[in-house]
Amino acid sequence: MSLKKTVEKKDFWKNLKEYYNDPAVLKAKANEFADGVTDEFNPDTLNTVSRRRFIALLSASAAFAATACSDYQDKGEIIPYTKRPEGVLPGKPNFYATIVNGKSVLVRVREGRPINIEGNPDHPIYMGKIDAQSPAVLLNLYDPERLKEPYKKKRKIDWEKADSEILDLLGEAVVKNKEIAIITDRIASPATLKLINNFKEKFPTTKWYSYQSSGDENKRIAWQSSYGSRNVPSIKLDKAQIILSLESDFLGREGNTIENTRLFTQRKDVMNSNNFNRLYSVEGAMSLTGINSDYRIRLRADAQLEFVLSLLNEIVLKKNVQQITLTASIKSLISKYQLKNFINKYKLDSIKINYLVDDLVKYQGQSIVLAGEILPVDVHSAVIMLNEVLGNSALYDYNSVNLDFHPMSTSDELKGLVSSASKGNIGVLINFGINPIFNMPKELGLEEAFQKIPNTISIVESENETSDKSTYTLAASNELESWGDNYVRSDIYELQQPLIAPIFNTRQKENILLTWINGSAEAYSMDAIHHFVMENFKDIYNLQNSPVDFKSYWYNALHDGFVKVIPSAQIKYSFNQSSFDKISSTETTSEYLVQLQKSYFIGDGKFANNGWLQEIPHPVSKVAWDNYAALSPNSAKELGVENNDYVKVVVNGKFLEIPVMLQPGMADKLLSIELGYGRTVIGDAGKNSGFNAVVLMSGTEVSNYLLTNAAVTKPGGSYKLVSTQEHHPLDDNSVKDFHKIRKIIQEGTVEEYKKNSKFLHEDEHNLIGITREHKYEGVKWGMSIDLNKCTSCASCVTSCNVENNIPVVGKDQVANGREMHWIRIDRYYSGTPDDPEVSGQPMLCQHCDNAPCENVCPVNATNHSPDGLNQMAYNRCVGTRYCANNCPYKVRRFNFYNFRDHFADAYYENELTSLVNNPEVTVRSRGVMEKCTFCVQRIMEARETAIAEGRELKGSDVKTACQSACPADAIVFGDTNDKESKISKYREHELGYHVLEELYVKPNVTYLAKLRNTHSEEA
């Protein structure tokens, strides 16, 4: 029996009557409306305004009200000054000379805001040039995350209250005989030195410690023992025919790189090709100097001492060169080291070494050997000896000596500081503007000792690891808001003046110290430090025998930014050979060596929150926003790591996990890591940026940057490192040497050029166009970049960023290739991964006469001006990006986001950072294309001046930002229609070529081929 009941239609019933199909219910179902339901409905009694009508009225009146609210013709207000300050004309820039980042600069100020920093043109050392780091200090001034108020234990405090409390603490410490420790950076300012000495007098239990995470202390110590003075003379690099750099990155980060580059590149002038110098670079890691060398020899830094001693053996004992007579004990010391054995032991290229020895001997007295700052004291002593033996001391400029006011604290002294703190003997610790908890080796134990000091005071510009643990955090003014002086070289005394009154409630750190010296919190005045510096300057004035009165002299000195100091007596050092006897063993190990280097742009970590500097790619690896461990491809293969993989480095019980970047040209079993990254207490820009290598440093030897016997393993995992340039294996045949094949980089050698000066253009053919050529009357702008002089230092990149309001895009966007730099430095490798030849090339908009970008813009936003510039009208651009597609040089940058306002963490969107923008340049919004404009705002400014003076505009009136920054003078810009101008000479030069010339886009940037000064005609 089936229980299945077939139901055809679902049947629902609501009540029993319905179930039984009562006819009344059926009738009711048929009539939806029963009779009588609408009887009492009278439409006239309803509200006259229906719901529909009500809403319509509501919206209409709202619309009316909205339109009536504003006057569309209203253009706002125009508000002048009430009392216009003298010398300030809105719209015109003022220039001030001051010191920024230790260098003498000229700052452009608009309506009271500093907006651009360039070199001081009158200064004999800088000559108007600047490096890559200094202009970006502006972003530190306008950093929204800088300290604005003083704090005590994380709560705001008044300056007067803080000062009086601290004065009490200092007094108490003196009474109880507790140490007052003050830790500073290296002081190069005589005024600050006097201030610290006054402080020590006022508070007798003060002990002064000084620390820098990277410095030239080893060199100074060697000079002290060899010559009896820590004042190292400057070197006349332009007189050197042969330069041997032993791990010395003198072009990139050691010494005065601006002067070094300028002097070095003076001997790379194609107009004077007989006078080229030759640079040998012997280094383990690939540095900026290494990529500019004519010959490069890979040697790990721990083998350098043996190398110098072997060279000494070869030169003194074999070639019999001794411009000074050596003692017998020294001769017996060097007789133990044979160069041939050395070459075999380290598998070096004997041909190159022989060239080196021959050159050093041939050009003795006209060459120089430079030892890097990271090398230990013994190597410096050996190099001093080598220079003396070769007579290269003739290149030491005793008229301009690098002064040294105080030695840095030794490891013992720092250990003493930590032990005093642990024992409770320190009453007050003053951190004078640095970050010792981050920068000092963790092994010293400063962080733990910090807790035991009852009162710690940090006087810093922005919160850092040390101020985080300090009792008092006193907000310091930026150096653009400060008075000061600088006496780095013995013949020039530089002055610093503030360009803007402190924006926030900050005080200059020297002024804070002055208040404490003066003994009362009420004694503070913003001008006190001004008078102190001025009074201190009287010492210099009195030496000068000047005919004018002091005030005029002082104002003139502030106007120029410096004064020349005639030294009282001629300095001459006598060489003490006995220091050489202290040279200790030269043993090297077969284990890994870790080399800790100074960062190119981040400093010791103080610029970690500076977006511009974080974004400038590393000159060699082109990595931005992070540091990494550079490793040679052979060693990487051994370890089984690839780019971005982590390695674990263990040195003496200390370990660090850091991602790896393969670096062709590095010595094997060597890891090179830059310091300054991995900051934890830092603003938004610097968070999660890199890895802190200070953890590996030894507490017993604070200026030891070469950590031997490191164990390196692969722990697994990887970290995304972003770089602006592709990383592919060098010997991949599909891309090997493509830059040379496609003639993007054309190079030669000096010998080749001497034999046949037309070698570059020999197999060229004439290009013809099919369109009518434009005629350019008047000025036609063109640029030339001399690749012989360009060292890839990136000064041009920073100054272009500052001048043209280039936004910082952050790590994620750089990973997508969306960095916004209008000029970039491309780096190409050729040769083998072990011994690559590196070529750098600044690439910017070529302003092509037949620009492929111009004819594809659907809205005609980009076109050509009658003076040869490729123009960009931002307000017309709709963001098709067809122009960027067509550009063969890929120099057009697109604003994918509104980097100004609507971007990730609203980095730019605050009241402060927008002050850094140059008002002459449009700040671009989302969806528009931008590119180098040849500094059209400067061209217009020069035109305005020419019209005001009633004359024609000349090509030499305009200096683009990149041109004025370049310390090597590699960039020349001017009027190509003027046949007498410098640019025309470079344009017509035999070594000049255009990149991708065969496309017939007729670019206006001429590159001058690099001539490597090798012994043969082949590179």
């Binding site: 253009k75 706002g76 003076d867 009208a873 705002q937």
Partner: protein
């Protein structure tokens, strides 16, 4: 075929409505053009300053107050201390001058209503025009006769280009005047 409401709408009503709308729009567009370009804008200023009195009757030169006009991009509305050069003494009992002195003494800026404004995507430079000899009146009209300043000429790109392309006609008082720049970067950089 019987005509439906739809036919009637499509043949007469729709075209008629469209025509009326288009005509109304075009007429309004052209008649309001000058006003939309700013011509005739005469806002109320916080202080009743009369150019007719100062520049016209008293003959004070434009550049005495508007100092930036030969030096840079902006002509600059005068700062109050320029007014006080004379008005610390002259007519200091008049109500408008009392208002002015109050602003000066309290150090408050005077919120003048801006009349002439070139849009922000264009960079206009006064000094290159004035230094070539172009008179203030050529663009700003006869300010010497104005009690209240109003904008006389439209400040559209067309108006600028008309003069740039045809300076001999538009500026007859200048001899040897060259054609002004027509390229984008001259103003839109």
């Amino acid at each position: 075929m019987k005509k439906t409401v739809l036919d009637y709408t499509l043949k007469f009503r729709l075209p008629l409505i469209l025509f009326i709308a288009a005509a109304a729009f075009v007429v309004t567009f052209y008649i309001s053009r000058a006003e939309r370009d700013g011509v005739g804008y005469k806002p109320l200023q916080p202080i009743n300053y009369s150019h007719k009195l100062h520049a016209g009757e008293m003959g004070i030169d434009c550049q005495y107050c508007h100092v930036g006009v030969t030096k840079g991009r902006h002509a600059l509305v005068p700062s109050v201390n320029i007014c006080m050069n004379c008005h610390s003494v002259a007519r200091k009992d008049k109500p408008e001058i009392i208002k002015l002195t109050k602003y000066y003494e309290e150090g408050n800026p005077i919120p003048w209503k801006r009349i002439h404004k070139v849009p922000e995507y264009a960079y206009f430079n006064h000094s290159v025009h004035v230094n070539k000899g172009i008179d203030c009146e050529s663009c700003h009209g006869n300010v010497r006769e104005m009690e209240e300043v109003s904008q006389i000429k439209p400040f559209t790109m067309t108006a600028c280009l008309d003069c740039h392309r045809n300076p001999q006609e538009k500026l007859p008082y200048l001899k040897n005047v060259k054609v002004g720049p027509e390229n984008c970067a001259a103003c839109h950089r």
